[in-house]
């Protein structure tokens, strides 16, 4: 009786031990968008082509920074000169047929209104981007704001 019990216990112990270990140490299948690229390497960027100039694109929600509907190849924004403001400044926009920069860009961080854009809006491409036909990296179910859908 005693031996049968110990045998049974031993069987249980031996049988479950590897099972438990496998449960604990099973590798977690997790992969980021980087893929298997090690941290000290960079993924090769895909080749994107600047799209042809076109009319301003429809917006998906009212607070959206409008997309840039033209090529920006070679448009440098440096401490010396902001190429975007060469056409989008209020004093230039009419001549260039361009949209004037939004009035919201004239407010500094204390809410004070300035005579030209605030330095915090200097780097336009931080918010405004041109379009390419890049594949979405992850799926999403984003929908246009109701108010902007054609009625």
């Amino acid at each position: 009786m005693k031996t049968t019990l110990t045998l049974l216990l031993a069987c249980l112990f031996l049988g479950s031990a590897p099972l438990r270990a496998a449960e604990e140490f099973r590798p977690i299948k997790l992969q980021s968008l980087r893929g298997d690229t090690p941290v000290d390497k960079t993924n090769e960027a895909e080749m994107f082509k600047q799209e042809k100039d076109r009319a301003p694109l429809p917006r998906d929600f009212v607070q959206q920074p409008p997309l840039i509907p033209h090529s920006i190849r070679g448009y440098n924004i440096t401490a010396n000169f902001n190429k975007c403001m060469d056409c989008h400044a209020w004093s230039k926009a009419r001549q260039a047929n361009a949209t004037k920069v939004s009035l919201t860009h004239f407010k500094d961080r204390d809410g004070k209104e300035l005579a030209n854009i605030s330095p915090r809006r200097y780097f336009c491409t931080q918010c405004h981007v041109p379009q390419t036909d890049a594949k979405p990296l992850v799926g999403n179910t984003f929908e246009k704001a109701e108010t902007l859908k054609p009625q």
Partner: protein, 206 residues
């Protein structure tokens, strides 16, 4: 009578005799000098020469490498002399003579650090703008001819601005400043003032 006949003949003889040797020497020397001169002009008209000094290599060249005239779809390039040295013999010679002043400044080390170069940049750029304005952007037009621009192929903004601009008698450099290099400080009235560089003529017109 015979003496009268002799007079011109002896002159001719003299020319045909001793003179021809001198003439031949002068002729050959002329070719050598001319050839050497043109070779020097040609050698100093290559991109390798232009970026042979670090002043150009470390500043304007690196910037130019990111632009359309260095690398593009078709591989047709514009090199430094294509934009900066006239193709016609006279204006080219004048530009080369002016360049000896640049050699003087090379010796003086006027722009031998990026800081010194950037301090001088507005002035250097203004010289180029003035030169191109005066020649109706001749060097650009050596390759680009607006009579043959296909406005149907060009972008919306290009075709609209070109038709308007050329109608108003504008020239390439009026609108295309900074096409090959970073621009010098130009006052745009954003944030702190860029003291001393407000020159209205430096503002690229659109």
């Amino acid at each position: 009578m015979s003496e009268q006949k002799d007079q011109p003949r002896s002159l001719w003889k003299r020319i045909a005799g001793g003179g021809s040797v001198a003439l031949a020497i002068a002729f050959v020397a002329g070719i050598v000098v001319w050839g050497g001169f043109n070779t020097a002009m040609e050698l100093s008209n290559r991109e390798e020469f232009c970026i042979g000094c670090h002043e150009m290599k470390e500043n304007v060249f690196v910037e130019y490498r990111n632009t359309i005239h260095y690398q593009n779809r078709t591989g047709v390039r514009a090199t430094c002399p294509d934009c900066h040295v006239p193709k016609e013999w006279g204006p080219k010679l004048i530009r080369k003579i002016q360049a000896s002043n640049e050699l003087l400044h090379k010796a003086l080390g006027s722009i031998d650090t990026p800081e010194k170069f950037n301090a001088k940049r507005l002035e250097l750029a203004q010289h180029e703008w003035a030169r191109m304005k005066k020649t109706d952007s001749h060097e650009c037009r050596n390759c680009h001819n607006y009579d043959y621009m296909d406005y149907g192929e060009q972008g919306r903004r290009s075709s609209a601005m070109h038709q308007k601009g050329f109608g108003e008698g504008k020239t390439c450099i009026d609108c295309h400043k900074g096409i090959a290099h970073s621009l010098p400080p130009i006052e745009q009235d954003i944030g702190a003032s860029k003291a001393g560089t407000a020159a209205e003529q430096a503002k690229p017109a659109s």
